[in-house]
């Protein structure tokens, strides 16, 4: 089984702050492997454990995104590719899917592609679907579990009100919304050391044979015109909750007022 995992390095958005002038402070905010990417990678690793195969982690991003690929190698990917070019900067979801799919068509055979359902910096959830169309592969969205039925791969999809199990026929793109908790199944020291021996290769726009107008801002159909920071704050009203009984009574009275 040839498995690709598309991952993304993102700023830890929970640590971003906005200064008093409403300016986004990104300095010093650590870059992390997106949690949905990690869910996707863990599912790929679990499937590989069952049916064997080879996992390749792929990302489009700045040189710094190599760190996220190293994390993938520690968690069980066999090798990795970084698609890096200054001309890729500013890609919207369409241009991103275009770059990723071009690389896959050029260099990779695959049965399954795993992606995080979305990434915490953009939350668009569009790349997996766009990639599936560009690669003419089946799409399975919101996958949070899998099982083998003989040699058939079945995945469960969570559509809020509805859960559906579908049979996956390769080639397929699987967007993962959950699965093994992120604080479980951490890499061992051996995994950590072995990761240093695995290869990370780099490809740029020319390597992919993409025109300058097929990637980045120029290859995007959507364009950010402006951006601003919303101001979220209220007047503070602080109560001492040292006595949990009194605090509980007070909160219940607030709920009672609604009736």
């Amino acid at each position: 089984m040839k498995i690709l995992v598309m991952i993304k390095q993102v700023p830890d958005v929970s640590l971003i702050e906005i200064d008093e002038n409403g300016i986004l402070q990104r300095n010093g905010v650590p870059a992390i492997l997106d949690p949905f990417s990690l869910f996707a990678l863990k599912m790929a690793v679990n499937i590989k454990k069952k049916i064997g195969g080879m996992i390749t982690a792929i990302t489009m991003g700045p040189l710094q995104a190599k760190e996220a690929l190293v994390t993938c190698l520690e968690y069980g990917a066999d090798n990795a590719f970084l698609l890096n070019d200054k001309d890729f900067a500013g890609s919207d979801t369409w241009a991103t899917a275009k770059v990723l799919s071009t690389f896959v068509k050029n260099e990779m055979e695959f049965d399954l592609i795993f992606c995080g359902m979305q990434a915490i910096d953009g939350d668009t959830a569009q790349v997996p679907a766009e990639l599936s169309v560009l690669l003419n592969a089946e799409l399975a969205s919101y996958v949070n579990n899998f099982k083998m039925d003989g040699n058939k791969l079945l995945v469960s999809q969570n559509y809020d009100r509805e859960t559906r199990w579908i049979e996956i026929k390769s080639p397929a793109v699987i967007s993962v919304s959950g699965g093994t908790p992120l604080n479980e199944g951490l890499p061992s020291i051996e995994d950590y050391i072995n990761a240093r021996k695995k290869s990370i290769q780099t490809r740029n726009r020319i390597d992919l044979g993409l025109g300058a107008f097929s990637a980045g801002i120029n290859g995007s159909h959507t364009k950010v015109i402006s951006s601003m920071s919303p101001i979220l704050s209220k007047k503070r009203n602080i109560v001492d909750g040292n006595d949990p009984n009194a605090a509980a009574k007070y909160i219940l009275s607030l709920a009672e007022e609604l009736k």
Binding site: S132, V133, L139, V239, N242
Partner: protein
Amino acid sequence: MNNCNGSCSNENCSNPDRLPPGMLTEYDLNQETALGTLIWAETISDKDGIHIHKSVPEIIGKAKELSDDRLFAIIFGSVDVKPLYNELFSYGIDSLYHIRNKDLETYHPEAYAEAITDLVDRIKPATILISGTPRGREVAPLTAAMLQTGLTADCTALTSNGRQLIMTRPAFGGNILATISCNKFPQMATVRPGTFKPLEPKIERKGTAISRPFTPSRLKQIVNLENENDNFIDITDADILISLGNGIKDRSTIEEAEQLAKKMGAKVSCSRALVEKGWFPHSRQVGQSGRNVSPKLYLAFGISGSVQHKAGIHADKVVAINDDPDAPIHEIADVSIIGNASEIIRKMNSQFHH
């Protein structure tokens, strides 16, 4: 110069917008002709039958506000959806395309996107709006890729500049609001449910229903469907939310919160930390990367309050219960209680007698 539209070939014409002699406006091939908006009328089935998803009137209302042009809708299903025609017309749909294919009575994302793409080729709308529901956010990017056009996800504001849609959405976990336009037609957006007010229906509004044949090229291999998920709780329609965060260290507190919620008529939601721990499904997560919620009362227990979490809270009243007086959640709280969140949940549970 009255009535002059600049398209005549009179060389003595003084209209500054006058075209060169002999040239008609029709010759302007760069001018897109697309007008109108296409909406997917998503339906849901439950024990009471088939309904239009509550977010559909919201996007119809917004589309009507943005333009007087024609409003198209596409709906999938058997004859069972016929009673919904008039409801859609009452909200302002002019032309309703009904895809009647037996296989497509069940949701098949690729096939739905193909059918929408096929209809777009026929009616050439300027804009396609789809609700940002789980299905909508799957069908929309499939459709956008098939049409090779741009799509903006989960918009929270829409305005227009002529035929061009100006879309606003939160990014970087709600830390910024980005305003986006699309350089191709049809321009596409998904819209965050609960963002816009639905239009008042008017019974006297009429429209045309058109039955449209369509055969999908492929269908999914569905092995099993559970329509009403036992464990699915829709946190977006709760009046009171008991929301738990990383300050909750013991799983038994979740049990207590669920019991308390049952007694109070509330629902239990959470922040991202507890989804990553595997304690809650993603559908219970409040925030930019989870759900937007608008309860009357939002009780944040042990939630530190990242910007992305706060961005999802649109409550009348926010009470933050946290032992850290410096936690950012207090910035949006109407009342901040500095105390032990788990302990206070336990006491609320034992005090409640109804």
